[in-house]
Symmetry: C2
């Protein structure tokens, strides 16, 4: 499940697949909340919809677009608040939660980290063998996040395993050095 967080429009995409095989699209949708509604009510509406979608699709993993402070737009606080609720819902549901930057998603999908929305939509359409890119753009972005995660997850897992092995090896080396130190006559 991929989520492009937002208060006005929160994109949600669900795909099914194995790394290296052609994934299938299960859902491309947008959760909307009215701007006139209080922020707490909007966040509660996003939470309710997400909880329902997670219960319905039971995803293995949740990929969320990482929000950056440098995006100097007026909606950044609302987007960050919505992303917080998404991370919260995924974590509470016990899902593997990962964040990807827009550049990582574009690079994974199109090979170009600076691709525009239309190019991402076109590639998502081809990868999932659709007749047209998912609409609206927020739903397409969420599907792209899910595809990005499906493809990047094995690499991320390998890096984490390598890191663990290195930490373990370093820990053993430290333990040996400490034991050798202790065996020295005082």
């Amino acid at each position: 499940m991929g989520i492009d967080p937002g208060l006005t429009r929160c994109g949600i995409g669900v795909i099914e697949g194995q790394p290296g095989r052609k994934p299938a699209l299960l859902l491309a949708d947008v959760i909307r909340t009215p701007a006139a509604m209080e922020t707490g009510q909007r966040l509660a509406a996003v939470e309710r919809s997400l909880v329902r979608y997670v219960a319905e699709y039971r995803p293995d993993a949740l990929a969320v677009e990482r929000v950056f402070a440098r995006r100097d737009v007026s909606s950044i606080i609302g987007t960050a608040q919505a992303s917080g609720v998404v991370l919260l819902v995924g974590t509470r549901a016990g899902l593997a939660v990962a964040q990807h930057t827009p550049t990582e998603v574009k690079a994974a999908i199109t090979g170009n980290g600076r691709a525009d929305k239309a190019q991402v939509g076109q590639m998502v359409m081809r990868i999932l063998a659709l007749d047209a890119p998912p609409k609206p753009a927020d739903a397409a972005d969420a599907v792209a996040l899910a595809v990005c995660h499906l493809w990047r997850a094995p690499a991320i897992a390998r890096i984490a395993q390598a890191q663990q092995r290195r930490d373990l090896a370093e820990g053993r080396a430290r333990a040996r050095a400490l034991a050798a130190e202790r065996r020295k006559p005082a």
Copy 2:
């Protein structure tokens, strides 16, 4: 209940009182989550603590510091995500949720919207008849938010009522105009 949202330190203050009377301090605390923890886990920890505090103190209202995009600091996204969780918990609990800016809080407490943390702490200490300002600073800020809300709430309610009355009067005027229009011969 006042909340100064944050992931590393989330200040929480609870006071009891009536507008125009001396309030009493019930709680000044800080919810902490380790920076090494994943964001989703940190948000879930903040949520659990808040839910517990709300159940324990059963506040009438929740006052949260409003987060601004212009605060160009690296922690702004985490702060916004935490504020989203605070607004969510308050809304779900059916509390009256309000946001106040730091300037509004400082002005309400010290009479000066540019007061520093020490001045706010000193005034909070006097208002609540404490021996020392609440520690750490995030807890003192949360208590100041609660005091600010207690004092501003009646004014905010009066403005909302005036707005409602105006909306109602305008609605009636429109209805009368429409009825007069309809009574005209075609």
